[in-house]
């Protein structure tokens, strides 16, 4: 089989294959383990039953929706009390509730978010809400 304009055709194919396999040679076989968000903040260590607002799986998948719900409730409806798992009462506050327990933004929120490709400015929440102070 004769290939006409082989120069162009072969280089085009090489470009295509290089682009299509980009992740393979970009990772070069490095297996990075899935992140382990740290739960060793003072507030959590003090807890008897180490439980979040909702069940762990629900939190992992749906914490952004819970935050959205809280935000709407507080900002639009003016309600600040949320009954979580096991009837536990929470104040619907991003900084005073979530970040009181999870005061380790960099080793908790950010480890996951970096892994799934949200930049440090996304979630953009931190442009207004103050991230907890760490290690100083």
């Amino acid at each position: 089989m004769k290939i006409y304009d082989g120069r162009y055709v072969i280089s085009g194919l090489i470009v295509f294959i290089a682009l299509a396999t980009f992740p393979v040679w970009f990772n070069r076989g490095k297996v990075s383990p899935s992140p382990e968000p740290k739960l060793d903040t003072p507030a959590i260590l003090e807890m008897v039953q180490k439980k979040c607002v909702l069940a762990k799986d629900e939190m992992r998948i749906g914490h952004m929706r819970l935050l959205d719900q809280w935000r709407t409730e507080v900002v639009r409806n003016g309600r600040r009390i949320y009954t979580g798992m096991d009837g536990k009462i929470h104040e619907m506050s991003f900084q005073n509730e979530c970040l009181k327990c999870h005061s380790n933004k960099t080793t908790f929120c950010d480890t996951c978010h970096r892994y799934v490709g949200l930049s440090s400015s996304t979630p953009y929440c931190w442009t207004c809400h103050i991230a907890p102070r760490e290690n100083d």
Binding site: G29, V31, C112, P123
Partner: protein, 344 residues
Amino acid sequence: MNFIISLMAVLALVVAAFLGIEAAGLSRVFGVAIPYAAFILLISGVVYRVLNWASSPVPFRIPTTAGQQKTLPWIKRDRFDNPCNKIEVLGRFIMEVLFFRSLFRNTRAEVDKGPTLYYQWEKWLWLGGLALHYSLLVIILRHLRFFAEPVPSFVPVLGGMDGFLQVGLPGIYVSDAVFMIAVTYLLLRRLIIPRIRYISIPADYLPLSLILAIGVTGILLRYFTRVDLLKVKQLAIGLINFQCVVPEGIGTLFYIHLFLVCTLIAYFPFSKLIHAGGIFFSPTMNLPNDSRMRRHVNPWDYPVEVQTYVEYEERFREKMIEAGLPVAKDIAAGGPAIYSLTKK
């Protein structure tokens, strides 16, 4: 009817993935085997199609003459609509591939009760096509966040720009909305406009139905049911590092989404979608119109024995005179030839 066929095909795929996961528990098949098979089919299929095209010679120029060819210096010519060298062809290509220029020229012809034919300005197809392709590009680039670790720095930036509306959590991506609108438009266009419906076959509807289904499942996954992205990324990273980890409990909807994507990429080289590669092989696009400047010799030409008229007459003159046919060289008269024929 044609649409129903393609819709049934897509539904069958969805059901197959659903049953495969829910009833048979084949998460290794749907999470590992099928993605690899689909990817191999994609690469080998594209290579095969491209080499197949490249093995056909195109000896002569078949230019689209959508503009004035290069000619006398005082006639204004159209550099990109009628290119005469490789650089200009490249220009035409860039405009075609990036902006779908030939689609922009689309008009609609209509006979409006009467003998007069009207041509109307019709840019919706161009706009829909452009919107679809660019939003698809953004979506594919955004998906790199699952396949690359560390995530290349442009991906979060792109995601941030795409989610600039900052509506809801997880935030709505503009590209998702544009994609769904464009696919729906392109599908409705085929279904509603009678002439286009008439020429549409299942192979036209299938890619559209497939990407529509991929879009719907993707949107469900992101905005509604949600999945554990950490597990999804583990699966994806495992695939590209050839270590097949299949985390438990990702959810069936994710496998349906993945299976539809696998079907699409496996189907890609063997369907109309390969126009992505085919455009580079379309002779009306990739050839400069230089027929008047260069001689193009057909590579299939083989030497043929030819006989000039002079040789012919030399051979048959006697007989021609007998039959009363005029001959070029009148021998009887011994005079000059009536008209001179010279061998070159």
